[in-house]
Amino acid sequence: MSSESSLFSHRWLPALLLAPLMLLIVLFFYVPVFQAFYWSFFLEQPFGGGSEFVGLQNFQRVLSDPEFWGATGRTVIFMLTASSLAVVVPLMLAVAADRKIGMSYPARNILVWPKGIAGASIGVVFAFIFNPFVGLMAPLNVLFPGLWNPGIDGTDAFVTLVAAHVWSGIPFNFVILLAGLRSIPPTMYQAAAMDGAGPWRRIFDVQLPLIMPQLFLTFVLEFTESITSVFALIDTITGGGPGGSTTLLVYKIYVDGFRGFDLSGASTQTAILMVFVLLLAACQFFFLGRRINYER
């Protein structure tokens, strides 16, 4: 048989196999993405009241709104703090769990549990645990009044969000990084040990350089993840408050669109956020990705 037959040839079967998924993807991915950009050039009336082409006016309105810039700034701060922690904490845990010690077996099991707990559920739990009157900090608040109150102090609310986000993010990043560590061949360690590198030294000279692909991947995914999945945490823990101090872009879009019925404004912000996410991924891919040696 010739190499011709290494694939099936069929006129309509592959199209038929692809059709159901492609239909869903076009309908619920490409149409919404296109529509967000399309609507950002129109003034859309809620409840189907017609629309009117306004050029760049929506962008002018959004970009001159200080609340938009506030939400964007908070999104960037959250992205940098929460996603760094959500990679570094699992990284330390993965390096520890990679060692053959008694603790690493229960850890490998338990650290995956948060995957089964919805962001909104852990949000409800954290809202209670960090409640200033009945929660963890309540006794300290009695001793030092005003020490902790996420309902009034924006920083406290922000810290609660970060803690909850890191909690939810542990399983995925831990599993990926641990898998990376375990795929390092033992001969690497032996060679490093022969050269006199002790176990501490080998973390920085062998393990970290060799799991760069996994680290890079977790960072890329974590950046997008921290921007979007934070919605459930904000909605259950802070409601965007106090005083808008935890209103991140994804939450502001929801509030503008579904409570304020400002479809054009929400679509314009959606379009801006999409461009931001895509640029971010592209930047990471080109600038960060290039420095990483994928060869083993």
Binding site: L13, W113, G116, I117, A118, W167, A281
Partner: protein
């Protein structure tokens, strides 16, 4: 290798203990508070020791809230999401890998691009599409001028309308429109030896036979991994079910749980009851993780390779 690794092993042990505490701590406090009465919580704050009111609180959740029916919704959404994703991704990956199609690369890129922009970002316009899934068709008919033609022949233009909001289909479909599954199966197919295909062809197997008799049994583990992964993802969704279902009886359990906390300030909410709700809502996915952890870990690793 014999060397002194005592200091690092002790440090690693302590670190893991802290990590476990960080994960288990909130879960323990949830459980212990769920087993105390409202009055106990008002007096002592969050409970460090378990009490005896656990089943009373669970009963309160079952009788006074919509959580039971919402858990049924979650079950339907998570299960159909997992099943539909598995089947549709399997079929599309099969078409991309095993057929000679010129546009295979383009199609795969189009499917893969969905991973870049999660549903939570495009929720506003996805909602508009779900409110009338024929709106793209109407727009195309309007735009191409076909509707003016139709209007001149039949008297009125075509304006179809069908909303999938407040239906299980509407809650599930946007979740299935995602590329991870196709990616996962494609990766798996690429690892299979080419001779497998050639041998099957030589024995006279056609596309359908090859799919059912050869690939399907081989892909069992991949199916299990993807199923667990998408089931958990379906169960834990929040923003889409929040906007996609407007009546309490159509909402999912996670949304229902978040709605148990009153918006208004003032009286301290019945946290023991809410925590019992959190336990109830997390029971199914946690059991799944406990039983099928192997597949979950495998799925996480495979889906991002």
């Amino acid at each position: 290798m014999v060397e002194n690794a005592r200091s690092i092993n002790i440090a690693a042990g302590i670190l893991l203990a802290i990590g476990i505490l960080y994960i288990v701590g909130p879960l323990y406090l949830t459980l212990s508070t769920a087993s105390q009465s409202y009055e106990y919580m008002l007096r002592n704050g969050l409970a460090w020791v378990p009490g005896t009111e656990f089943f009373a609180n669970i009963e309160k959740v079952i009788h006074d809230t919509r959580i039971p029916i919402q858990m049924l919704n979650s079950m339907i959404v998570a299960f159909s999401n997992a099943l539909a994703t598995c089947v549709l991704s399997f079929l599309s990956a099969y078409a991309i890998v095993y057929f000679r199609i010129r546009w295979a690369g383009v199609v795969f890129a189009l499917i893969l691009a969905t991973i870049m922009l999660p549903l939570d970002i495009r929720v506003i316009t996805t909602y508009q599409v779900a409110a009338n899934i024929f709106s793209p068709l109407n727009a195309v008919l309007d735009f191409t001028g076909l509707n003016t033609l139709i209007a001149s022949v039949f008297g009125s233009p075509v304006q179809l309308e069908l909303s999938v909001l407040d239906t299980h289909f509407g809650l599930v479909a946007p979740l299935v429109a995602h590329g991870t599954g196709t990616f996962l199966f494609r990766q798996f197919f690429m690892t299979l030896p080419k001779d497998l295909f050639k041998a099957a062809r030589m024995d006279g197997a056609g596309p359908i036979r090859f799919l059912i008799d050869i690939l399907l049994p081989l892909a069992r583990t991949s199916f299990a991994s993807l199923f667990v992964l998408t089931f958990l993802s379906g169960w834990t969704q929040y923003l889409w079910p929040l906007v996609g279902a407007s009546t309490p009886d159509m909402q999912t359990a996670v949304v229902g749980l978040a709605r148990l906390v009153p918006d208004a300030d003032g009286q301290v909410p019945d946290f023991p009851m809410i925590m019992a709700g959190a336990v109830l809502v997390s029971l199914v996915p946690l059991t799944m993780i406990a039983l099928l952890q192997r597949f979950l870990v495998q799925g996480l690793v495979l889906s991002e390779k």
